[in-house]
Amino acid sequence: MKFTLNVWRQEGPTASGRFEDYQVTDIAPEMSFLEMLDALNEQLVQQGKRAVEFDSDCREGICGTCGLVINGKAHGPKQACTTCELRMRHYSDGSTITVEPFRATGFPVIRDLVVDRSAFDRIIAAGGYISTNTGSAPDANAIPIAKAIAEKAMDSAACIGCGACVAACPNASASLFVGAKLNQLSLLPQGEAERGRRAVRMVEQMDAEGFGNCSNHGECEAACPKEISIKVISRMRRDALRASFGRL
């Protein structure tokens, strides 16, 4: 297969960016989208040109490092799929593909397709944990947790922190990310003690990082590679609101 790539190039956080066109050929349909970009970079380096910078690590959809906006869609056209899992067979031979970084105020561009998502770490640091010191835990079976509750908590815990929800949201809101963590921890009895304080602090930090508000577009749920439900956002709002009135 061969493709024309329309790739966002930007030398640094303050530099102005632009799209550049590249041709790639001999692309096998079973290659992943990132392997196709690897092939492009091999070609560029051999020509003495600067490789296109993009982030990736596990290349199996679990670490959350990769993330590109492909033809306008975060992580590309497939449901429940990260950029690294996406295969070239989903594109028609000879087509033009536009590749951009995840764009949001909270995710400044570092170079080309690489963005800074450290805001997510700061949000987790603002209470996205259960305060328990190593060694102080009771026996793991001391507190039974209904299978259905554990499964629901796991649905939320599946978040990989990639930021596709932010990239897809017209408001660049991080509500799906924050809601997922709050939901996981508040469903579990271990997380109950800090439930209210946690919701207030994490939402405040999200706002401070420059992410927008949720206005129920639902784009986040559609883009989420782990199919996390937008319902987590309603729980986040309820908890944060109740806690701010001292009711949680």
Binding site: V45, E53, D57, T65, R87, S118, D121, T132, N133, A158
Partner: protein
């Protein structure tokens, strides 16, 4: 050329096996709680071992600096572990115990691990599960609300705890949340997108590190009272492996060059259930969790070169070779054995798929027995991952799998306290060599990472720190500037080659050599040729590599180049170690040493030891030291899974 070195004192405590760890804890020197905050500890790596250690050390009151190459600590490659974590809870009442977990691990490692370390690991395994549940890890549960378990390769009890097919992710996020809690409390200073490129030694002790800031390219220096390395394994040396593309050996390699001995570098694990290799464009081999072998049956056609689609091959013409050869364990035979068996049938011409180098993993019988719904519940995410990559539906046709480099049992040599041969330098998790011998059992990596990080290191480090009080050393010391200059010079050297071949090309070539000669089957002649091939490839690299870009900027190609340069040295050490170990054990299979029915033939007389390699300078042959392994509680026997 080998010496049983007095420098390799494992410092194993006295007493009965069961009492060693508690005796040791009782005699370790402590640091007064009020004095802990005067110490600074560097932890490099934020996976299960590094993340848990940094969080726990900070809880204890130490000042911690935590470093990772990823953009966030949550992305360390522990995240990708799928199947589960072992613990001797015996919740299933199926006869499990600390001793049984210990015994399985020692036997699984083909009697090449230390008894005392492995027993401690089994003892700590239960506390790990308690800790993780308390931290909010949503393990799978039964309807009554208790924790669920499953069985895993190499064990006959159900002792594996799991969170769907994402156990590593959930455990890592648990450790990460504990780490971020300490960042919130101001006791951990977090440095992400930093790559450790030098270890700083002052008066014979590890006192700091030099990093490259991967965003700006600046070289930075950090001083501390102790340095802990938790940077994972080195399977990426094979280019194609199940590891993340950024996994590397550079941090442990710097330590090796400063005198930390490297234990058993040739002990690498080739995982039996991975997607097969297809072409040169592939960037990694995706693992399909070993848990699939609980319900999937492995087979090849009985006729060589049978090209019929699998569904057209009748039952009587299929060879379920694992069930045939190992009736007691069947498809759950340990990884090294299952991998070798796959290679054997493919080498003999029975393999399937376009290259003839894959075997079937078939769920047909399980779907008939349990229904598609149950299979979907158990393995849904793995099946969809497989479907997306191969465009084949595993509910309708068998998966095709083949072994791939996965885990490295070898690593920095450490004593019972996890300290390397360099004072003040510790190694944790996969970065050390300690607990798995010549082969790791499934669901034991997560256990070891968290045992080291949550419980062992935070306890043992005070023994050293109490003896080495803070002395006011800062990164202004001249030793730091000298190390920084080494890092900058090396970067310049890499960039100035300005040749014609890409970094990836070299890495790919190195991977080919290692896969062919230092992979699943090794022999004298092949290992010797691997050593000379790697030497000439390394020379070629420094003459003809093309990187592009600058040092003082975000430059992924430069990062990869530095790592590949180190792999080109490490690969040679692996081959050297494999050459000197003239026996077969676990994942190290020398074709010259096998039993009549093709199983690994150990030589306990001459090789019941750890080989620890000491750096002797550029282009000099490293020195091989040995630490003999004494088995007082288990009887060495020919490992049998029949």
């Amino acid at each position: 050329m080998s010496t049983n070195s007095t420098r390799l004192d494992a410092r194993i405590p006295d007493g009965n096996l069961q009492d060693k760890w508690s005796n040791h804890k009782g005699s370790i020197k402590l640091v007064n709680p009020a004095n802990k905050r005067k110490y600074k500890v560097i932890v490099v790596g934020t996976g299960l071992a590094g993340g848990a250690a940094a969080a726990t050390l900070a809880e204890l009151g130490y000042n911690v600096q935590s470093f990772c190459i990823q953009d966030s600590p949550r992305r360390a490659h522990s995240v990708a572990a799928q199947g589960g974590i072992n613990a001797a809870k015996n919740y299933q009442n199926d006869g499990d115990s600390e001793y049984r977990l210990f015994y399985d691990t020692i036997k699984g490692g083909d009697y090449r691990a230390r008894e005392a370390n492995v027993y401690r690991l089994a003892q700590l395994s239960t506390s790990i599960i308690d800790q993780c549940v308390a931290a909010g890890v949503p393990f799978a549960r039964e309807y009554g609300g208790t924790l669920a378990n499953r069985s895993f390769g190499g064990a006959q009890v159900s002792r594996t705890f799991y969170a769907r097919g994402q156990t590593g992710q959930q455990l890592l996020l648990g450790a990460y949340s504990g780490l971020m809690r300490q960042v919130d409390a101001g006791r951990v200073e977090l440095f992400s997108r930093r790559e450790m490129l030098e270890l700083v030694m002052v008066e014979g002790r590890a006192r700091g590190i030099i990093c490259r800031n991967l965003v700006t390219g600046e070289v930075e220096k950090y001083a501390a009272d102790a340095v802990c390395i938790a940077t994972g394994g080195y399977s990426t040396v094979f280019f194609l492996s199940t590891m993340a593309v950024n996994c590397n050996a550079s941090a442990i390699w710097r330590c090796y060059k400063h005198g930390a001995m490297f234990g058993n570098p040739c002990f690498t694990q080739i995982h039996p259930t991975c997607l097969p290799q297809s072409g040169k464009d592939q960037s990694k081999l995706t693992l399909m969790s070993e848990s699939l072998r609980n319900d999937g049956r492995v087979w090849v056609p009985k006729t060589k070169g049978d090209k019929r689609p699998p569904q057209d091959i009748p039952e009587s013409e299929r060879d379920y070779y694992l069930e045939r050869k190992y009736p007691a364990f069947g498809n759950l035979a340990p990884r090294d054995i299952a991998s070798r068996a796959a290679k054997e049938v493919c080498d003999a011409g029975y393999g399937v798929g376009p290259t003839g180098y894959s075997v079937y993993l078939d769920f047909g019988e399980a779907v008939d027995r349990l229904g598609e719904k149950t299979i979907r519940e158990r393995y849904g995410n793995l099946f969809s991952m497989y479907h997306e990559i191969t465009d084949e539906d595993p509910y309708r046709q068998p998966m095709r799998i083949y072994p791939a480099p996965h885990y490295t049992m070898g690593g920095l040599w450490v004593d019972y306290n996890l300290m390397t041969t360099v004072p003040g330098l510790y190694a944790l998790g996969e970065a050390n060599f300690s607990d798995h011998g010549a082969n790791r059992l499934g669901a034991s990596a997560l256990m070891q990472g968290l045992a080291d990080g949550y419980f062992v290191l935070p306890t043992t480090i005070s023994d050293y720190l109490a003896e080495h009080r803070p002395d006011g050393l800062t990164a202004d010391d001249a030793a730091f500037d000298a190390s920084m200059k080494q890092v900058s010079d090396r970067t310049q050297r890499l960039l100035s080659v300005n040749g014609k071949k890409t970094v990836r090309e070299y890495h790919w070539q190195l991977g080919r050599i290692l896969w062919e000669e230092v992979g699943m089957a090794r022999h004298d002649k092949g290992l010797k040729s691997a050593i000379s091939d790697i030497q000439s490839l390394r020379q070629d690299f420094w003459n003809d590599v093309q990187i592009g870009g600058q040092g003082e900027e975000f430059n992924k190609n430069l990062e990869f180049a530095g790592r590949v340069a180190d792999f080109l040295e490490l690969g040679e050490l692996m081959a050297r170690d494999a050459l000197e170990r003239k026996e077969s054990c676990g994942g190290h299979f020398r074709t010259e040493y096998q039993t009549d029915d093709g199983e690994a033939l150990r030589n306990d007389e001459d090789f019941c030891h750890v080989a620890a390699w000491e750096y002797q300078g550029e282009d000099a042959v490293p020195a091989r030291h040995t630490e003999s392994l004494d088995f007082e509680n288990v009887k060495l026997s020919q490992r049998s899974y029949k």
